[in-house]
Symmetry: C2
């Protein structure tokens, strides 16, 4: 989605490249070995209703520009805009579009399909939100078909109106229903784009990982995917929103809007709905604690509740999973004290002042455990090490094993980036490495190191998509997690398998707030955020 420095003309003509799908012809473009189809509509939906198949068409539809993305309730400049460049785009409730990168447009190529489900909680983001999501390099490197999906989010994707009539029965899971519709489209159409509908890997990071996790517990998705990747998408202590909370939230929204007929909610302007939903969600956060309340509801036959706290769905136990996280995640927000210098150059006094402030009388013990787990790292890095995603990912893999599921592989991305004289790996950074886009991520790129690591990581993701096993000849042996091996592949300058490498540290490291302590100005030099938020 970013412009590449081209060495050959792109080809996009009325008759090439054109793919003949069951519903009609679609024209894309051919860019240096990769065919790209942007903005293919996979469904359409009225607000608060299930997605419907699109009718067949005459002639050729163009798929050379991205489709609109789901409206966000609020779009400020992200505090991590430098570390994780965000690509903004036009927002529209008609957002049922997907993008395809492939090296083949003939049937029979049968390449593995790697489907990217974006993050941003269940509230924000899109298939093209982050530059890292561009599928060209992954497609080219792995000879796989890459697909990325937009779907409904926030108050139009997860507002549970089921209490207002049977026609709204699934409203708490519409965003998920969109994803299922997209997977169904892939199942029925991807062969024409060189993909194998019998070998579909779904992948997601952060909120996208939550969505993948939820799809593993979604009966209507059974058979539509065959492997799953969860990246920083599991959180220690996570609980699904309860049916009661969801009803409480939607009642607040409906009351706030002062509707005389519930059906009015289907046509009122989006921003009014969003403003009411923001207010209601804030009220719930004050009442029940920080968290997401517009997210999949385990209240009916659509979604069985997170596999973290519930038995894994029987029909998905045969799905191998690749589950991991990043060393710093949100906790590296500590790093935002860089206005006062670079962490790696702080003197011992400052480091221990911060460590003592963060960990109290446990500081020495934590640093000792951290030094054991990560011998090459500095004591100061203890400040930035994430617990929530790490523990949840590790335990999820073990639970998969315990319940007799297909293999679960656990990993952790720990590479320090050069930004600011050294920055602990942050939430989202690994995406550039498994998408083979590390050369494009300005805050993280290290000559030689990034190329080698992305070859290994992208290679592992691709191997997993091909075989359900991430092992390949370019990396050390990687064991699936069992009851006792404590395996975790560590991605860094040196790639190595850890065995219980951080058990001791995780035993004593406290959880930090998901958005870490941050008592400095936001990353930007300005106020940030639209003056009138929606």
């Amino acid at each position: 989605m970013y412009p590449r420095k081209l060495t050959r003309s792109i080809i996009s003509n009325p008759d090439y490249p054109v793919v003949d799908t069951p519903k009609g012809k679609i024209r894309g473009l051919w860019e240096e070995d990769v065919f790209i189809f942007r903005g293919i509509q996979y469904a359409r939906a009225e607000r608060f209703h299930l997605p419907q198949e699109i009718p067949a068409w005459e002639g050729t539809k163009e798929a050379i520009i991205y489709g609109p993305v789901c409206p966000e309730m609020h779009t400020p400049i992200a505090h991590d805009q430098y570390n994780v460049p965000h690509y903004h785009y036009v927002q529209d409730e008609e957002c049922h579009y997907l993008n395809i990168w492939t090296r083949h447009i003939e049937k029979g190529a049968n390449k593995p399909v790697m489907v990217w489900i974006h993050g941003g909680g269940f509230a924000t983001g899109s298939s093209i939100e982050l530059y890292a999501y561009d599928g060209h390099e992954l497609c080219d490197f792995g000879d796989v078909v890459v697909v990325s999906i937009n779907h409904r989010l926030n108050c139009i994707g997860y507002l549970d109106l089921s209490g207002y009539g049977d026609e709204y029965r699934y409203t708490g899971n519409l965003g998920q229903a969109d994803l299922v519709a997209a997977l169904k489209w892939i199942n029925e159409n991807i062969e024409a784009f060189g993909g194998d509908p019998g070998n579909v890997t779904i992948m997601g990071q952060s909120g996208g990982g939550c969505k993948v996790s939820a799809l593993l517990q979604t009966p209507s998705a059974v058979g539509l995917f065959h492997k799953a990747v969860i990246q920083s998408g599991l959180f220690e202590g996570f609980k699904d929103v309860t049916k009661e909370q969801a009803a409480e939230l939607s009642k607040m929204v409906v009351d706030e809007l002062g509707l005389t007929d519930i059906h009015e909610i289907e046509t009122i302007p989006y921003y009014k709905l969003a403003r009411a939903a923001q207010k209601a969600e804030q009220a719930l956060q004050e009442k029940y604690g920080f968290g997401m309340y517009l997210c999949p509801v385990a209240d009916n036959d659509f979604y069985l509740g997170t596999g973290m706290n519930n038995p894994f769905m029987e029909e998905a136990k045969n799905i191998p999973v690749l589950v991991g996280s990043v060393l710093g995640e949100f906790d590296q927000n500590y790093n935002q004290v860089y206005a006062e210098g670079s962490k790696n150059f702080w003197d011992d006094e400052k480091v221990w002042e911060l460590l003592n402030k963060a960990f109290g009388n446990k500081a020495k013990e934590i640093v000792a455990a951290q030094q054991k787990a990560y011998p090459g790292f500095l004591p100061v890095d203890s400040l930035y090490i994430n617990r929530g995603c790490r523990v949840a990912s590790r335990d999820f893999c073990k639970k998969r094993f315990t319940e007799g599921c297909a293999p679960a592989y656990n990993w952790l991305f720990t590479l320090e980036s050069p930004f600011n004289n050294g920055t602990v790996a942050w939430h989202n950074v690994e995406e550039a490495y498994m998408f083979h886009n590390a050369n494009y991520l300005e805050a993280s790129y290290i000559p030689g190191v990034s190329e080698e690591l992305q070859d290994i990581m992208t290679g592992a993701w691709v191997s997993f998509a091909y075989n359900g096993d991430p092992n390949h000849v370019g990396m050390p042996l990687w064991h699936p997690v069992d009851a006792s091996n404590g395996s975790c592949m560590l991605f860094d300058r040196k790639v190595q398998e850890g065995l219980h490498h951080d058990d001791e540290l995780m035993e004593i490291l406290p959880a930090k707030a998901i958005v870490g302590n941050n008592d400095r100005e936001p990353l930007s030099t300005f106020g940030g955020g639209p003056r009138q938020s929606l």
Copy 2:
């Protein structure tokens, strides 16, 4: 602003690169030979008030991410999103930010400063709207300091409320006042970024060209710039909005909003203001004809009225200008019939059917004149040749000469792009060539050809910035326009100076509607545009 494929780590640390400006320190980043400073605040302003200087600050401000852009009244997917990739970003009324690319951060380097003023009429766009605007390559190629500016637009930049009190005297020109404030900031600060405040070239395309043209008639801008480039920014028959029309428009807005006190207009939500302004502008278009009505008002001492219809401002007569346009401009929208094939492959019958439809009994004569003006082109291309910008640019240069101004150089970009088996040069396409970004423009790139042409064009723009003369050793001799030479540099596979080359054609070619005849579906396959426009 797009991610480049990196071969070296970017450096951005607390102490490097840091520039010491008169008001305080600013930290940017260093990316392969070029220092980049994004989102530097040059002023701040309350709504409907003149921009104010920002106060000095302690410590170091970061300038590593872009500042917000001005809110747009409506942001649909552009119909030309493929040919002219648009980069969307967070919108905020606090949009007084500029970006700098430079190879030097020491005083005394004294490099020419090339300031980019974006297009989008006076209503939309931003300093980072188009990928072509990325200043890295231009800075690196020409060893110049590149600056690009955000400023207020549409109903917060050009709504003339002067009838509502002296405090609102300049409201019809606030967007222009922001530009003057930015030029003042450059004048006072650019030396610290290696620039020469005594050699500033302002450049703009489309609406940006209109703004440059207006700044040539703006007394408060005198001395703040020294050369001017207008690209597809002059339109045959253009008239400034009259004082009466501006008053009529603002009265409609105020009435529509039902304000009890005019000051309420300073705090009502932007989208309410925008909706009222949209309605009012539409009413004026119905009454007075298609055009922009939220644009600089020549009603007071701020702006003297367009130089097309008024005497050139005495104090700006010493400014050399580089003025040109593109062969197809808006008229290439005809090309959107490509769903029915490629123009270059249509048979004679179809071509002449369209020619006759467009030109009636003048068709043969027009094609004969077109073949004489552009010997390598096909008759079908007559359909796409623009008159409005071409004639206005030519005549503007001649008027500069006639009124005794500094040299005016005229040019026309005519390169056919490979998109769709051949597409006549469209509005905006030349930006990638004068910014040395042609390798990144997927719809236009031709191996070898694009590199050579962008070297010549960027070289000419850079030479003009250095010397006020675009001539350089890599291109044929280029004469400034005089009373009779009819000079026009033609940028194509072969670069050559035309002398009266299209006089005959322009004599008979009719003007077409600015947004050309377009009776097919929009370029996208979907509805386009937010369901609820602001």
